[in-house]
Symmetry: C2
């Protein structure tokens, strides 16, 4: 049994707990939290420890999955944890990946551990599809579309606007843009042409709704580059219609071999973004454990992992039944 | 530069030649043929040698791509070639993969070479998707659909029927079956429910068309388990409408994490089946070369290859731009 640890018990941590329970070769050995461990109720019977006590449990855990955020948690936590454990994270701040990779690599190599960063579906499975597509069809272009799905970062941004009590944002790919890409037209698409944003907002009593809508639509980085719709709803409607975290998207590569065209498409349709992401994290935790056993230490990404390491089946079995 | 060799100059061999020309880090160093080398005209300037003389060129080639058929050529050729070169093949006789793997593994290990078998899109990229889907969503089912596209095996089988001058067979997935799978219904589908077969036939003058159609439709292994249509056309129509080799298909995995459903779909739409397959072979030839340099000898499959080895870009570059 591979003994798994979780650091951070939010949506992602709960998803990892669920995915670990579904894996026959994995057992959840510990949940670490920055809250008071006594106050944290978890779904399984795993012991809960303070995040400050991780070092005391270093020999009880084969792989630690870091379930914190990319902005503030992972840049510190993953390198620190890699001194103690094999680690997996879902770091998704693209611009900072080289720096994060270097930090985790140094810590993991010094400790003889294996770390795999930026695992999930994007970065993650979508990255893998971009790489494979580019390798197979060098004369081609790849396009990534996200949605329809909830962006928690954009929801949070809308929630910070004055007069907003609650908000939920859906990223929506533009169907006609996807069709153009699928048809092999190789279109040049602006940010605005690829996705729209739908914002559902519960306003505070007496708030100026026009001003809220304008503020959201013009918010730099988050909304200004998109066609955004803002729809005001009641708290009851928010609870009833927008309490789930669906997501998805697709990577489409259109390429040529001389006069012949080829299209490669990978798409996901997910009822729960955090639960699917967690399932990917757990499969790569299995890989980290195995790669470490074989002496492959240091920081890795999805590009470095032989796929056979992901699954709880023998090489003979997968060659006979999945190849 | 990686020096590539080709054994067998049919559709696949010509595709490899084209894919090698499109790769900046690869040069075609030799084409080996069982025909008289003097009679073989090829598209590039690579030297053409007799297949009997491969051993004399063992130091001129880094990876040999075997472009013969799975029924008669590859079971002999790949293990024999693995004594001389790193090798790649597209062996697709599923039942014989364990035996073929063992033969290539023994030959390659003894010679310190690396062989990767069963590369292409199915087996190949579709196998990879089946593995990843099963690893990420253990509580799920995967389905593979092929087409619409030309099956050369089924075309050949129809061509062997008495009174048939020429034939072309298209494998067609049943759209309603795909929709059922996509919707997460987890249907149990018979062979007949998944695909139909369309056969276009040029009959010999005076042949009994009813008899031809009946013979094709009832042919065991090839047609009897499918709903097959047989359409008689002229030689001109065959030439005009059916001279290309398009193909494609999809792998769909529908799975659950508790009450939440998720769908993973990978699909291909290919103008030329042999040219796309060749492009995959060339990417994996690059991987075989690199894996051999790092001492990973013996027989491998797509499940064993770290994706980073497939592409002609540095690890730093792919982490910064594809992750």
């Amino acid at each position: 049994m591979i003994r798994l640890g979780i650091l951070g018990y939010g949506n992602l941590g709960r998803g990892v707990e669920k995915a670990a329970a579904a894996a026959e070769d994995i057992t959840l050995a510990a949940v670490f939290t920055r809250r008071d461990p006594k106050t944290l109720k978890i779904a399984s019977n795993a012991p809960v420890y303070s995040a400050d006590d991780m070092a005391a449990h270093k020999d009880e855990i084969d792989v630690l999955i870091l379930c914190g955020g990319s902005a503030n948690d992972l840049p510190e936590q993953t390198p620190a944890a890699a001194k103690l454990f094999n680690v997996i994270d879902s770091f998704d701040t693209h611009a900072r990946i080289p720096e994060h990779f270097a930090n985790v690599d140094a810590a993991a190599k010094a400790a003889g551990k294996t770390g795999i960063i930026s695992i999930g579906w994007d970065p993650g499975l979508f990255s893998l599809m971009r790489l494979i597509s580019n390798a197979v069809l060098p004369d081609g272009n790849d396009y990534t579309f996200w949605g329809r799905g909830v962006s928690q970062g954009h929801s949070d941004a809308a929630r910070r606007v004055e007069g907003v009590k609650d908000a939920r944002q859906y990223t929506v790919p533009v169907a006609s843009a996807i069709e153009k890409v699928r048809s092999g037209e190789d279109p040049v698409l602006t940010t605005r042409e690829k996705h729209t944003r739908e914002c559902y907002v519960v306003a505070e009593a007496g708030a100026d709704k026009d001003k809220i809508a304008e503020t959201i639509k013009n918010m730099p980085n988050y909304y200004a580059d998109y066609d955004t719709s803002v729809t005001f709803i009641t708290e009851e409607e928010m609870q009833r219609d927008h309490s789930r975290l669906p997501h998805g998207g697709c990577v489409i590569c259109s390429g040529r071999t001389g006069e012949n065209k080829h299209t490669i498409e990978f798409s996901l349709k997910l009822d729960s973004n955090p639960e699917f992401t967690s399932s990917v994290l757990v499969a790569y935790a299995r890989a980290a454990y195995r790669m470490n056993k074989e002496g492959m230490t240091g920081c890795k990404t999805i590009f470095d992992v032989p796929p056979a390491y992901l699954i709880n089946r023998s090489d003979e079995d997968i060659r006979a039944h999945l190849l």
